[in-house]
Subunit: 103 residues, 2 copies
DNA sequence: AGTCTACGTAAGTTGTAGCTTACCGTTCGT
DNA sequence: ACGAACGGTAAGCTACAACTTACGTAGACT
């Protein structure tokens, strides 16, 4: 799965948004969400695989936090889409003006 | 479904990325993708509902193009996440320095 | 060593997202 | 008016994603 697909799931996005505010443990996240702790673990695994979060041990707990590089990568992707859309639009306008001359 | 969820599906993202380059008709899109034309129609319906694309009639065809406002909204969402992540990080650093004084 | 806490993983269930085929409406051309 | 092109929608199927419970494992504390 890729980054956008990972954030496509509502529960996973809820987890991710909470981690944006501050690092959290798995059980802590599960306590604030309407799903079980293992479900949170599975979602965190996906988020970790796509590079959106990182984890570190803290005693028996495991603290997760967002990986800024993941957010940055998403922003870069959308920026590229944005640029391409603008370029296509400009080209369309230019072409329309060309046809305007001919008619 | 929301915007991020809509772009979470690979097929839907493939459709969207092609529309970023230039406006296209439904059958034209289906011809370039490994799914049937009705499937493309259904995906376009979703993309339209979340405001990522707009359509206009062109004879018997129907041309779809991206709605720049949708891309902009996604960018704004990620920018907000980005800012919150940075703020949280700065606060964490500040707190760490506070504790450094005490010890 | 024993126990408790916190977490990951395996196994199994279920809703649903995505796909297909079939059908119908609309628009253009002849 | 008739046929063809194009596309939306309904109905049904299926694979899978998300969830649960149950179990195993690692660390901290006494």
């Amino acid at each position: 799965m890729d980054r956008l697909g990972a954030l496509g799931d509502p529960t996973r996005r809820a987890i991710f948004e909470r981690l944006v505010t501050r690092p959290m443990a798995v059980g802590e996240l599960a306590g604030e969400l309407p799903v079980s702790r293992p479900a949170v673990s599975q979602h965190l695994k996906v988020l970790k695989e796509v590079g959106l979060v990182v984890d570190r041990a803290d005693g028996t707990r495991r603290l997760y936090r967002v990986d800024p590089r993941g957010v940055q990568a998403l922003r870069a992707y959308l920026d590229e889409l944005w640029d391409r859309a603008l370029a296509a639009f400009a080209q369309a306008v230019e072409r329309a003006e060309e046809e305007g001359k001919q008619s």
